[in-house]
Symmetry: none
Subunit: 200 residues, 4 copies
Amino acid sequence: MARPRSPEKKEWIRKAAINLISEEGFHGVTTDKIAREAGVSVGTIYNYFENKEDIISYIFQVEHKKLNILFDRFQKKEISVPEKFKLLIEKYFKYVFNNEKLARIIHNETFRPGKKITREIFNYILAIRKYLKELVEEGIREGSIYPDYNLDMVVNFIMGLSFTTVVFGLTEPEEVEYIYKKAPEDIYNMLVRGIFVSER
Amino acid sequence: MARPRSPEKKEWIRKAAINLISEEGFHGVTTDKIAREAGVSVGTIYNYFENKEDIISYIFQVEHKKLNILFDRFQKKEISVPEKFKLLIEKYFKYVFNNEKLARIIHNETFRPGKKITREIFNYILAIRKYLKELVEEGIREGSIYPDYNLDMVVNFIMGLSFTTVVFGLTEPEEVEYIYKKAPEDIYNMLVRGIFVSER
Amino acid sequence: MARPRSPEKKEWIRKAAINLISEEGFHGVTTDKIAREAGVSVGTIYNYFENKEDIISYIFQVEHKKLNILFDRFQKKEISVPEKFKLLIEKYFKYVFNNEKLARIIHNETFRPGKKITREIFNYILAIRKYLKELVEEGIREGSIYPDYNLDMVVNFIMGLSFTTVVFGLTEPEEVEYIYKKAPEDIYNMLVRGIFVSER
Amino acid sequence: MARPRSPEKKEWIRKAAINLISEEGFHGVTTDKIAREAGVSVGTIYNYFENKEDIISYIFQVEHKKLNILFDRFQKKEISVPEKFKLLIEKYFKYVFNNEKLARIIHNETFRPGKKITREIFNYILAIRKYLKELVEEGIREGSIYPDYNLDMVVNFIMGLSFTTVVFGLTEPEEVEYIYKKAPEDIYNMLVRGIFVSER
DNA sequence: TATGAATGAGCGTTCATTCAT
DNA sequence: TATGAATGAACGCTCATTCAT
């Protein structure tokens, strides 16, 4: 199993898998289907991947890399933490909107239970949390984030807000566009002032 | 005159299924395993359930009923909407803490993709959204919730916050207790004033 | 398993089995279905029958008895062999017409292959062949049947003619009545002069 | 470039199925048994056939094709209809004698009741009836067949005679050879002059 | 004796993986 | 390296039979 000749073919397989898994779920898709969709034979899949699980692992691996690049770029931005979040949320929704199928997989398969949860999926989520945590800590330091929250929980809030908005959006396709366009602003406002009208 | 069909046995099966599905996921569990865990034969399962899918359907059905009772009780409370939410969130986390396995299933299987998503799971989620929506509308009417958000999105916020906190909590078992105990207050605060320190 | 109290119930089961097996075949019918159709519980079936196979065995047993009575009556008739056959064929078609479901079973299940072919079915067919053989021998003795045929084959002819007419009739329900009314005469004529016009 | 899909293997499966089904009946045979008998794995069966039913369907399909070739050849013969029948009957018995197991299946499974009767079996029988009917009509036209019989019934006669002779022959294996060798002549004679001695 | 819930061997079928070509 | 036929363990489910009531 030396280095495969054709990275191109690995891409075909990855994309085919994304298309199919996003629609039918990991368990609903067979290696045969993936091979057919990829225009490749089943055997070939096993030249590029150890096994079926490895495919979804790789899908997350690729996204993980993209994420790192994004985060690196953010690291260097000289803006306040709230503004970073604002931008980040916008990016996230843009990403979901433009990569609907991928987003669907990420949101559906992330919590696939059992021992079979791939290390790579776990790493992917961990990376997000780690970066957000750093950002929140920075925010607390610069005084732009309330310091009395549990740190992990703030991360959960932010991920949760976006994550769930997306997930519910994906289940109601007719509203997708509207929600995705409006969501970032709403989410940001929510992070600023909550939902409940507070008396001053 | 024969052995009476025992609701007891249906309970055994339901509980066995909850134990196993929470750990291995619906697809990772076989009817044989459920039968063994329930101390019952495979055949017996099919005496109480149409098919494997019907079991998870039933699990949600039971939770749905509990939910309705809860919501009915809330309907009658004469407190402000924010206070209702506060109570609701507390209830929710108490529930998750005491029904960890069930919670795990609810959070994992809710977005199981493919056509096979059970009607009952869908109804369960719908019921929650519907009730929350009513509550939010009430809050807007009474002036306790900012009226400029998209209504669906506010529901998403609230569900998302709680939902994701739970889900991430479930993946980091060592923090579970702390998170669950602290979460309700944090979430409520967040709904009141957001995360970002606002200037006055 | 002493003598059962209620021969009535055994009858219910037999009739239910006839109804169902005639439509779905022996393999297509479950003991549960038979019990339900009979208005009896599965357990009760096993009070009257050793096992499922035993039911079909019994169906043929009952018909066998009716047959013996019929044959005994024929034995005593003082008419020529061709006239006996004529009458016999008429009886047979009348029987099939009035007992369609039973006839269907007899014709379908008679040649059920495998070791499982019940002794009783075999005996039933044997009895028919034996009686016909005696009749043919009598016919040869009295000079009314050509003596140069193989004896078994003549029996086959006669059974085959009737048998197959019925079987094909049963598969084309719209012609049933016509065929059954016209068949006896045609079959008799055929036994008299064949099909091919012979020169004299 | 992979192992090519071998028609050879499909043949193995077909023949294994013939062997087993002829002895135990379609319902008595499992796909596992067929696979073992064919020297192939269960999975391979499903590479060549849609499902178990499809195997028996295919068996009849193959015979159907052979039949068409035979009938085509007969169509062209310039002999009288009775002579055609004579030849046809001889062919039929030769076929049965040389393909005992196949014949057993054809005769046993043809009238398998229930909705599951394969389209292919039905077509097979229909083809035979259709061809015989044409032949009978031709015979009536040329004056070699009595015109006062019901047409369908004449077909039944001929099929029935041969069919049943074979079926009964198959149940008494020790006589098989004798019966099959003698049968064609006897059947032909019977079609010529019947069984009963007619006075002139 | 009657009931019907309980049993579990056994079925047809699928599909991740292997391997001959 | 690519192919796709071959493999067979494993699955969901059925149903004849048993047995507690």
